[in-house]
Each structure stands twice: as C-alpha cells, then as structure tokens.
C-alpha cells in the first residue's frame, strides 16, 4: 500500500511537470484554462478526471497554478516558477494572501486600504505583511497620479502602468512642467519656422508720400523707465501741439486715409516672419511634428506618439500661439500674428537664456505679448481694491496712490486735504 502511495505521488509529480510545461506552451500567463482545456492537452491519461483534480490541486498548492473564477466556472492560469517560489517562501498564509492581492492588481497597483478591505483582515496584520513583503523586496510602494494621496503597492518587478504614472508627462508621479515647457518651446519654434516665411520687410515706398509707419510713443519722462505707451490714434486730436512737435512722422496716411499708428514692436526692421499665401499646403501637421521630435531624439527615454504631440499642440493653440488651419482637408498648424514674432534663432535664444539664468528680458517665453489694452494698462485694471473704490470710501480716486504713481506725481501731495472734488 505504501509503495502504491509513493508510486502515486511520483506519478502525480511527473504528470504535474508535464501538465505545467504543456500549459506554458499553450499560452501566456494571462490565458485562462478551463477544465476541458486542460483535459484536451492529453497529458492526463484516459480522461481520468479524478487524476486531473489531484494534479491541478498539487500545482495550485505549489503556487504554479492560480485558480480564477471565470464566468463559465472555475479556470486556471499558470504562474512562473520564480514567482511561485516567492509565494512558497512566504512565512504564513496572511502574507501570502496579501502578496496575492498585490500580484493580482498588476501594473495598476493597489491601495493599502483596498487590500485590507478585500481580505477582511485586521489593519495591523496587513501592515505587518506589507512591511515584511517590502523588506523582502517583493512589493514596492508607488504613487498614482490619479490619487496622489493614496498609499499604493505594486509588485516590485513591475513597472507602474501608464494610467498610474500619467503617461510621459509625469515624472515620479509629478507633472513634469519643465519637460513640458521645453517641448512646448520646441514645438512652437518648429511651427513658427515652418508655417511662416522669413523674409525682408522693405519700407513702404516713400516716393508716393507714404512714410514708414512708426510707432507713436509717448515718452514718459522720468516715469516708468523704458515703457512706451502706445499712442492711440485718437489722442492726436487732443493736442495739436504734440502733433506739431513730433512732426508729421507720427502720422502716416494710407489709401483709406486712416492714420497708421500701429507697427511691430520696437524691433529693428529687417527680417520678419510673413504669412504664407492662402492655400499653402505645407503647414506642419501633428504627424510632422511627432516625426521631428522623434528624429531629433530629444526625448531619449520616452517616445511621444501623435496623441501626446496632439496634446502639446492643443495646449499651444489654447495659449493662442498657434492656430489650426485646414487646407484641402489636411489639418496643419500655423503661428498666429506672424509679423510680430521675433526672428531670433532658437539656439541664440537658448544661449541668451542661459546667460540670464532662464529669464528672458522683456519678452515672453514664446510668442508675443498680447496687444495692449486700455483697461489693463490703466491702474484700475490691476487695482486690488477696484471694487471698494468710491468717493467718500476708504479708497477713492482722490486719494489713489496707484494713479498718482502712474502719472508720476509725488505721493506726498496726495495726502493734501483739499483733494475734494466733484465730477
């Protein structure tokens, strides 16, 4: 009888190995094998169901098979021997169960509260198990972008899934703003240089009495340094003296007779980005940009697909730096306000930035400053107490220090009591 038993055990051990190897040949770790599947592998002789049950039980005990409750009844999937060894090396059932739960969660990781909930174990027990597993190097804690405050665990040999890490934009669970900013720079520069024509802007012909439009600037003597207030067309009529003083050059007439007071910002004339003629077919598309980024090898350990580039491009569009343009059903992107863009080469700008420690003097990082606006440039547009301001109140026009500073009038004078006024 004893010999028979030993014989049996040996037989099962052989069948076990044979079945395990056969199963491994028939699918990946995630494939589920039903009882029928296992039977049809032809390892178990004569369709002996009882024998199969015993073999599978042995395999499950060895942690080489994992029982899964699939829709159509119980099924199994195999587990590698190394993994199985980890299970068998664990000291007790609790630890094993915790490890199993973490294992099951896969690349998404699992929250420690969920573990507790799932296993219905005491918190201290779970804690102990986790501690043991962590010190053994079986599981590791991770950060999930979607739930940055939850303590999550993942099997140590797995890399957190894209969903958990947030894709290429995240580094260590944090949005990598610097990385994004750099890429935005590059994408914008690419679009800028590929969607507009770098040409010379000659001066309008003088012979016909048309003068070069100049930017009318009121010099604020001793006022805010280096701030040119763009001269509104209307102001010209307010004071004829000024027109006379500044001479005819401050006004330019054109066909319509409209006075020209706008001009590209104080840049020296010369190279200027010009818009492409209508119907231009080569505005860069998202695919073009993705290609460029990949070819340039800027992102050496992350690959950015068209989807990611689309995200970047969308952001730039929302920033008002570029605009989508469809030509013959081909969706390309082009730079907005091309003539206002600076023509400094990218490398040049990088150098300048390095010198100044990352800060560009008097220029936005990308693109151009928004057009000036009457509201935001008046002190009231930025006034922190705008809502409170009224005559007779604690803050009022008659004692407004912002306006006095703006007009460059000494503050001391403000306190004068006879500032009472009626409008």
């Amino acid at each position: 009888m004893a010999g028979n038993e030993a014989d049996d055990a040996a037989k099962i051990a052989i069948l076990k190995d044979a079945l395990y190897d056969e199963v491994r040949d028939h699918g990946s770790e995630s494939r589920l094998f039903s009882q029928k599947d296992l039977m049809e592998l032809g390892i178990i002789p004569a369709g002996n169901l009882l024998l199969l049950v015993r073999v599978v039980q042995a395999l499950t005990d060895d942690k080489l098979f994992v029982g899964v409750n699939s829709g159509a009844g119980i099924a199994w999937r195999w587990r590698s021997r190394e993994d199985a060894k980890k299970y068998t090396s664990l000291p007790n059932d609790e630890t094993m169960m915790v490890y199993a739960v973490v294992d099951e969660a896969g690349a998404d990781g699992i929250w420690n509260r969920t573990i507790k909930h799932k296993l219905n174990m005491h918190e201290a027990v779970v804690k102990n198990c986790i501690k043991y597993l962590e010190t053994k190097g079986f599981i590791a804690s991770m950060k999930n972008v979607e739930h940055p405050n939850k303590k999550m665990y993942i099997k140590a040999n797995l890399r957190p899934s894209e969903r958990a890490t947030g894709g290429p934009w995240f580094t260590d669970g944090e949005l990598d703003s610097a990385f994004i900013a750099e890429l935005e720079d590059i994408v914008f520069e690419y679009i800028k240089t590929h969607s507009a024509y770098l040409g010379n802007q000659g001066l309008p012909r003088d012979a016909a009495g048309l003068r070069a439009p100049k930017k009318g600037i009121i010099k604020t003597e001793g006022g805010e340094p280096s701030r040119g207030v763009k001269r509104p067309a209307t102001e010209i009529t307010n004071d004829d003296q000024q027109v006379a003083a500044s001479g005819p050059s401050s006004k330019t007439y054109h066909a319509d007779g409209t006075a020209v007071t706008t001009a590209p910002g104080g840049r020296p004339r010369g190279k200027v980005y010009l818009p492409m003629p209508a119907g231009y077919r080569h505005y860069p598309t998202v695919l073009d940009i993705a290609q460029m980024i990949n070819d340039a090898g800027i992102t050496n350990n992350t690959t950015l697909g068209p989807h990611e580039i689309q995200q970047l491009v969308d952001v730039l569009t929302y920033d008002g730096l570029i605009e989508p343009i469809k030509v013959n059903g081909r969706r390309g992107y082009r730079v907005t306000r091309p003539t206002k863009q600076d023509t400094v080469a990218f490398s040049e700008r990088q150098k300048q930035r390095e010198q100044t420690g990352g800060v560009l003097i008097d220029a936005p990082r990308m693109g151009v400053k928004p057009p000036a606006n009457g509201l935001t440039e008046a002190p009231c547009g930025k006034c922190p107490v705008f809502e409170l301001c009224e005559e007779g109140g604690p803050v009022s026009p008659s004692n407004c220090i912002y306006f006095m500073r703006w007009l460059d009038i000494e503050d001391s004078a403000v306190a004068r009591p006879n500032g009472v006024m009626v409008v």
Binding site: D319, G320, V423
Partner: protein, 623 residues
C-alpha cells in the same frame, strides 16, 4: 434754479442732443428724458475728429469740430460763424492760439464757434465750407435734424405703432399672419422715420453730382494739400434753414473699420491691412450702422442683404493708393506648394442664397490664368485689349475703371502683377481663422460683420485675460470656450498643468469674472461633497462685466483729472487770464510754467487713457 436758468439749461442740453423730449398731444406737457447714448458719444469726440481729419480732410475736421462744439446747427448759422471767422482771419495778421486745451469745458458754451486753426486747415471761403458740408453729408457723417429726432426710441415706436394701427389695422391685429404683417408695417414706418434724417443726402444725390464727386473725392481723398478742397462750382448750396448734426451711428461704422484695420495689421500684417481698409471703406459706404436694430431691420422678401453688399477685386484695385507696395507682407512659396483650389474656394454662406459653386470655381481658375497672362505679356496691345474686354463685360457702368486699367498697363511695368498681388492679400484674409472676408463669388468679396465682430470681441477678451491672468489663465479660458463645461480634473489633464496651479488660476479668474462655476448634484440629496463642479466661461457675461469695469475706470480717470485740476487750481486760474492765454511760456514764471506743463502732460495722458478705454468699450458694446 430759476425757471429761466432751467429753460436755458434744457435748451443747451437739447442743442447737444443730450435730451429726448416729447410734447404730449393730450395736455401739452413736455416730458424730458436723458439721452445717455449721445452723452457717452461725447467721449468719442476726439476719435471721430481724427477719423474725419484723416479720411476726409483737415477742413472737414474743422467743420466737424465746430458742429460738435455747437451741437445741432442751422446751416446758415454755421456759414455766418465761418464768415466772421474768415473775415477775422483775413484781418488779423497774427493768429491767436485758440484754447484747445480747454475744449472739454467748452462743450457747454452754446454756439461758441471760435475755433481758429492753423491757416492751412481752416476754411477759407464760404463756398469751400459748402462743399465740405456736402462731402460730409454724402459720407453720412452729418444728418438732418427733424421733428422726430428728439423723440426717444420708445416714443417713436409708440407713435409708429399707433399710426400703423389706426391706418392699416382699424379692426385690430388678428392671427399669426396679421401679426407678421403688422410687424412689417411697423418696421417700415420706423425705417421711414430713420431715413428722414438722410433727406439732405438724397437731395444731393438727386442733383447727380454726388456720384461723380465721390469718384473724384476718393481719388484724391488723402492728399494733404488744400487745393483739392477748393470750392467746386458743381456743388449745390445747402438749404440755409436746414438744421444739421453729427450722425454718430455712421461715425461708429467708420471707427469700426479703423479698428478692424488695426486688428488685421496686428494679426496678419500691414500691407494686407491696407487692402482690408480699402475693402471695408468700399463695403461700408452704404452701411448706416454697426448693429442692426431687430425692430426695424426685418428682411423683406426680395430685398438684398441689408447694408453689406459685396466688393469686387477691381473696385478695390481702383481705390488702392498707388504708393502701397502689395508685393510686401506675403511669404513666398513655389506654386506646387500652394493649393489654389483651397485658396480660391468660394463660400456662398449665408447659405440661403445659392451660388453655383462648381461654376464659381471654374471662373476663379480662369481669372487666375488671366492674371498670369497679364503678368507675362506686359506691354503688348493684346493685354490692353483684354483689360478693356474685362472692364466692359464685368461692369459696363464703370468706364473709368477700364481707362485706369489701360493706363496702368501702359505706364508702370513693374506693377503689372498688382491685381494678382491684391488677390493674394484678399485670399489670405479669406483664409484667416478669423474670417476677415468671405470670398462670396469669383472676384467678389464681402464681410460677415456679426461673426467677425464676435471673434474680435473674443480676441480682445483674450488679451485682457492674458494681461491680467497670464498665459496659463488664457489657456484655461480658451480651453473651456472650446470644450464647454469641464471639471477640474479634466481641466488639468487637457491643459497639462498642475492641480494647484489650475485651482489658483481658476479661483483668481472666477473673482475677475472670466470663468464661472456650476454645481451639478449627483443625486437628489444634492450632497455638496458628492456634487460635480463644472467650470465654464460665458463670453457675454465676462464682456458685460468688463464693460462695466471700463465705465468705472473711465470715470476714475476723469475724476483723477479733476483732482489734479483742483490741486493746480492757482496755476490754471492764471492761464485763464486773457493776457496770459496763448503765451504761457513767456509770461508765466518758470516754476509756474513747469507746473502747468506737467499738468498738461498728465491731462493728455488721462484723456488718452479715456480714449483707449472707449476703444475697448465700443468694441465690446457697439461694433
């Protein structure tokens, strides 16, 4: 206030159209109402004058200024005022500097036309005055004052409705059809009232000189010299009893054109903007106002699009100043990189009117070919002949056009591809994401003002947001505008911004009124913790808020000015003395003069600021 003072005050206010009044037919009582729109228009005086100065002539500006200062005026009074001025100018060897710096205070001075200007801009004869007036009337910048001018819009509506009811619907309005008919009748009546103020223009047009004059006028319109505005014998003299005043609505149209020009210059480039300005000028010649009045401008069947018509490429070319170099401002690309089909696409939207798109496209291609030919065979007679053919076939009325073409072809070789260049600029405008123009037919262009102004408003809003909340703020707002309502999480994901940053920006912008939040409960219990919070942005709302803020800021500027005036009272009193006026620098002590000039400096700055605020307000509110 004594009755006399009151009467005088009312008269002055009336003179400047700051009041509506209605004499009740029942009891003879007169009801007054403030005309706030006109009162606000006073803030625009400077802008309007500048516009007239540059788009018509300095002398026209002078006349406009007189009109502004005196309110509505009888033609004969204006002539008399100028007559005395001319005499004075002739007599006086030295010109006295007028008190322009005080002009805002002059508003109240009734009929005080004392504006003596530099000799080259002022009117030198009454005949010249007459023709300047004619020009202004033709441009609709001046309108006739009639009985109903002083009725408030509501009163006019009431009168017209009553009249219509009495005349056409004595039995009352019945049924849906009757209602529509009634509305049409009312609209017609209102229109009639409105058109009454154009009677003078119509009279001028009947005289037949207007059309011819306009031609000449637009041709020389920008020359600075005075010679072009000498008396032209063909002008009919205006009825001296006619009372005229400034037509603000038309002025607004002109101001809007300028604004659009600036916008294009900023978005695309200056040469293109020049083209656009010409196009707008031609297009809006017949446009009386920026915004249609829903009560009046009901479309009648068979009627053309109200106001906006279309402009052909040739017309633009004819009016484009020769000094403009159209080869500038456009990038170069080889032909194979350009899809002419996409560029030349004709959009016959609004879609109600059908155009044969296929045909149009063929036409477009054909004309492009034509232009190529023109470019190559420059001085040959053939091309001249072709011009002639084109001129005749497309517009038999405009014989002048043809002549011009021929001249151009013969004289200037280097600009032969000018029509082609012009087309390029127009196509660029049509292709722009803002849709500045619509290529509504082969070589025909029009502007859809309503959507365009909407875009422009958005752009202006954007620049305010960018200036006050920075690029991240702008990004979030435009994102919301594009996607509709979003919760905070998706906002972070799409904007690629950190949570803290998004939260802070959104809160800041919510306080500023740029974005709004909506709470959507998950279930009936409306548990706050479980509710969704969706961000969204309402352009309308933000714009209204900004307009209000701008009014407030405008008032602040004026209040500050008053504060400064109070402070420098002693100096200003001094400058009011007749022996000081005009010679401030010589007469005043240095210390005083410095204070005075500093005051002037600040005053200028504040007025400029008010003007810019008005730019903003008019864009959001009126255009």
């Amino acid at each position: 206030m004594s009755p006399r003072q009151l009467r005088h005050g009312l008269a002055v206010l009336n003179q400047h159209s700051l009041l509506y009044f209605d004499v009740s037919s029942d009891n003879g009582l007169t009801v007054y109402e403030a005309n706030t729109d006109n009162a606000y228009n006073l803030a625009r005086i400077g802008k309007v004058l500048e516009m007239v100065d540059t788009s018509l002539s300095p002398s026209a500006k002078d006349v406009m200024q007189s009109l502004l200062l005196s309110g509505q005026t009888r033609v004969s009074d204006l002539v008399a005022a100028y007559q005395s001025k001319i005499d004075y100018a002739n007599n006086a060897a030295k010109l006295v500097k007028h008190e322009e710096d005080d002009w805002p205070e002059l508003n109240g001075a009734n009929g005080d036309v004392q504006v003596v200007k530099k000799p080259d801009t002022s009117i030198s004869s009454t005949g010249q005055l007459n023709s300047v007036l004619c020009r202004l009337v033709e441009a609709e910048l001046i309108e006739v004052v009639h009985k109903k001018t002083f009725l408030s819009p509501q009163d006019i509506l009431r009168d017209v409705e009553k009249e219509t009811l009495d005349k056409d619907f004595p039995a009352g309005v019945k049924g849906g059809k009757g209602k529509i008919e009634y509305q049409e009748k009312v609209a017609e009546g209102l229109r009639k009232v409105r058109d009454e103020s154009k009677s003078l223009k119509r009279k001028l047009e009947q005289n037949g000189t207007a059309a011819k004059r306009r031609k000449l006028f637009s041709g020389v319109g920008i020359s600075n010299g005075n010679s072009a505005y000498e008396e032209e014998p063909g002008d009919p003299s205006l009825d001296p009893k006619q009372v005229i005043r400034i037509n603000w609505e038309k002025c607004l149209v002109e101001l809007r054109n300028r604004r659009l020009y600036q916008f294009v210059a900023d978005m695309i480039g200056e040469p293109t903007a020049y083209v656009y300005a010409v196009l707008l000028k031609l297009l809006t010649k017949r446009l009386a106002r920026c915004r249609l009045d829903p009560a009046i401008d009901i479309k009648e069947e068979g009627e053309e699009d109200i106001g906006v018509g279309l402009v052909t490429t040739d017309e633009i070319l004819d009016n484009l100043k020769t000094g403009i170099d159209l080869s500038q401002g456009l990038g170069k690309a080889t032909k194979d990189k350009i899809s002419s089909k996409a560029a030349e696409a004709v959009h016959e939207h609004p879609p109600k009117k059908k155009l044969f798109i296929a045909e149009a496209e063929v036409d477009g291609d054909a004309s492009a070919d034509e232009e190529d030919e023109e470019g190559s065979g420059s001085e040959s007679e053939e091309s001249d002949a072709e011009y002639e053919v084109r001129g005749r076939s497309s517009a038999p009325v405009r014989n002048v056009t043809m002549v011009k073409f021929a001249n151009a072809a013969a004289g200037k070789e280097q600009r032969l591809d000018r029509p082609g260049q012009l087309r390029q600029h127009l196509l660029l405008l049509a292709e722009s994401t803002q849709h500045f123009v619509r290529h509504c037919g082969p070589d025909e262009w029009t502007v859809d003002f309503v959507p365009l102004m909407h875009t422009l408003c958005e752009a202006e809003l954007d620049s305010v947001i960018e200036q006050s909340s920075g690029k991240p703020g702008l990004r979030l707002v435009r994102l919301l505008r594009d996607k509709g309502k979003l919760d905070e999480k998706s906002l972070q994901n799409v904007a690629l911004m950190r949570k803290a940053e998004v939260q802070q920006k959104m809160l800041q912008m919510q306080t500023a009124g740029f974005v709004h939040i909506q709470e959507v409960p998950r279930d009936n219990k409306a548990d706050v913790k479980k509710s969704f919070f969706l961000w969204f942005c309402d352009i309308e709302k933000s714009a209204t808020r900004l307009v209000d803020d701008s009014y407030k800021t405008m008032v602040r500027c004026l209040q500050i000015l008053e504060v400064i005036r109070q402070r420098e009272k002693d100096v200003l009193m001094l400058t009011k003395r007749t022996d000081v006026k005009g010679r401030e620098k010589d007469v005043m002590r240095k210390e005083y003069y410095d204070r005075y000039s500093r005051f002037r400096e600040n005053e200028k700055k504040l007025f400029a600021q008010v003007m810019r605020l008005d730019d903003f307000i008019s864009l959001l509110r009126d255009f």
